[in-house]
């Protein structure tokens, strides 16, 4: 249902800061896939998600969702199909607006915004029930400004917002990286639950190999702007950190030199 075909993206082309971020990226997702994306720093993981979301245009190649070519669709229009949670907890919510207003903005994703009220009473009841499922006590703070929430609470809220209007694809870009380990685990568990409950197709970038092995039905590894390893199904289930590292050195001919990945 998602097809990324031979996508190329170079930043600062022609300058000394030139960075070939994506070099012939090819990936195809089936309905219901939950793909873990790993790879070293600068491998192109975030660039892939950002290109998919339309944050910047690609140089070459096409992106199709459900057969529809979205390569040239502006970011705000693609938002109809794509839910996103960012690495930075500040990025996914409007800090000066309250919880219910943020949810109301998300509920109208992909719909025409009119001069009707921004939040209706009927919605409020629904938000109350949904927030309860997070187990963070946010249902009693619906008129609090989101800026007052902790990073973990904000990521949980962003997750809810990204899936309130069911997206065709959910993109999680290291969405637990800025959180403390306990909160990170909780948000990850919540992500898993929301994806399963709503039967979502999702891609999750992570630096944590264990998370990547435990979660999802498919794992891809990126290097130098394209995918060098793609493991799914039974093989994915029996994966360990050791076999993963071994596979990596076989393919790339080098050791995986990334402290952040090895240590986590």
């Amino acid at each position: 249902m998602l097809d990324i075909n031979q996508v190329y993206k170079t930043f600062n082309a022609g300058t000394i800061n030139e960075k070939k971020a994506l070099t012939g990226l090819d990936i195809h997702l089936q309905e219901g896939d939950f793909v873990q994306v790993i790879g070293g720093n600068g491998a192109g993981k975030s660039t892939m998600l950002n290109c998919l979301a339309g944050m910047f245009p690609v140089d070459q190649g096409t992106i199709q969702i459900d057969g529809q070519d979205v390569t040239r669709l502006p970011e705000f229009k693609r938002a109809k199909l794509i839910g996103r949670v960012f690495q930075d907890p500040m990025m996914g919510t409007a800090a000066n607006m309250n919880i219910e207003e943020n949810l109301a903005l998300a509920l109208r994703r992909g719909e025409k915004r009119t001069l009707r009220w921004g939040v209706t009473n009927k919605e409020r009841e629904r938000y109350h029930e949904l927030l309860k499922t997070l187990g963070l006590g946010l249902e009693d703070r619906m008129t609090n400004k989101v800026g007052l929430l902790s990073g973990g609470q904000r990521q949980a809220l962003t997750l809810l917002m990204a899936t309130l209007q069911k997206p065709r694809i959910l993109l999680l870009d290291e969405h637990t990286a800025a959180l403390d380990p306990q909160t990170a685990a909780k948000v990850l568990e919540l992500s898993e639950k929301i994806i399963a409950d709503n039967h979502l197709t999702a891609m999750m970038v992570t630096h944590n190999m264990k998370d990547a092995i435990v979660h999802g039905n498919r794992l891809v590894m990126m290097q130098d702007g394209h995918i060098i390893l793609d493991i799914a199904g039974e093989e994915k289930k029996h994966l360990t950190v050791e076999t993963l590292l071994e596979k990596f050195s076989q393919i790339s001919g080098s050791e995986l030199a990334n402290d952040r990945m090895l240590l986590s």
Partner: protein, 298 residues
């Protein structure tokens, strides 16, 4: 003395419309929009030109408002479509409007004596001095505040607020941020031009220079209002900003009465605004001076 205060309140009410416009750009959109310097004079110029030409003053005022909308549209397009930084886009429109205002008026100043203004019907009823403009000012400020309160509670209004707050989030939620920025600038400058049209009729002339320094006056009113009356809710903020404009006019009237040279007014205003804007920096520093010894380790 009462006359002076009443006059200040009347003028303050007319400027409050402009402050509400500045609030939309400076606070809601988080853009310092200098277009207002041009659009306030544009409002005055358009209204004066048509009123002196015999047009119904309310229709002339409405045309002035429409002209302001176009001014905001110009800045919005420069900023969002041509990617010129917001501050510079505003400056460009402001400069362009100076020439346009001269074109509209045909000269640098149009007097509005012995013509029908929006205040005339009330004057004909026997009200004198500042009372006609007080009444008109109150009605329009309340109407504008009510409309803004409603508008920013709607889906589109919420989308504008989200855009000013966090463009990334707004786009991720499917909001066309460019259009929201343009819409905010359009509404803001429409209000500013409306204010200019009413001020010109109040002071019985329009002048191509009448916008100079107006952004600073708008900011001063905004900040004075926020500091004195608070911003706990949106309703409260709208009232605060309007009252801020009135307080600002009263302060100016009093310092002039106390003997300050009118030529020093802009310097006075600029210093006031600089102090208000630096409050977040000054407050802890001052508090630190007094508490540095006994609150260590707090």
């Amino acid at each position: 003395m009462l006359d002076i205060i009443l006059g200040a309140v009347a003028l303050g009410l007319l400027w409050a419309i402009m402050s509400l416009g500045v609030y939309i750009t400076y606070r809601v959109l988080d853009v310092a929009d200098l277009t207002v310097e041009g659009t306030i004079a544009l409002g005055g110029a358009v209204a004066a030109r048509f009123i002196s030409g015999g047009m119904n003053p309310w229709i002339a005022t409405a045309v002035a408002l429409a002209a302001g909308l176009l001014g905001g549209l110009c800045t919005g397009l420069l900023h969002t479509k041509l990617k010129i930084p917001a501050l510079l886009s505003g400056i460009l429109t402001m400069i362009a409007l100076y020439s346009i205002n001269l074109r509209v008026m045909g000269k640098s100043n149009i007097p509005l004596l012995r013509v029908k203004t929006v205040y005339s019907p009330l004057q004909d009823m026997g009200l004198f001095g500042s009372f006609p403009s007080l009444i008109v000012g109150v009605i329009i400020v309340v109407a504008v505040a009510v409309i803004l309160y409603w508008f920013f509670g709607t889906e589109i209004g919420s989308a504008i607020r989200a855009t000013g707050n966090n463009q990334n989030m707004a786009r991720a939620q499917g909001i066309n941020t460019s259009n929201m920025i343009i819409l905010g600038l359009v509404i803001s400058n429409g209000l500013v031009a409306l204010s200019g049209a009413l001020i010109a009729q109040y002071q019985s002339f329009a002048d191509v220079q009448m916008g100079t320094g107006s952004i600073v006056i708008g900011l001063a009113s905004l900040i004075i209002g926020e500091v004195l009356f608070g911003t706990r809710t949106f309703k409260r903020t709208l009232v605060s900003v309007s009252l801020g404009a009135i307080i600002y006019r009263i302060i100016i009237a009093l310092v002039l009465k106390a003997g300050m040279d009118a030529n020093d007014l802009k310097l006075f205003t600029a210093v006031t605004v600089a102090i208000c804007l630096s409050m977040p920096m000054i407050k802890p520093a001052v508090a630190g001076l007094f508490h540095s010894k006994n609150t260590t380790g707090r």
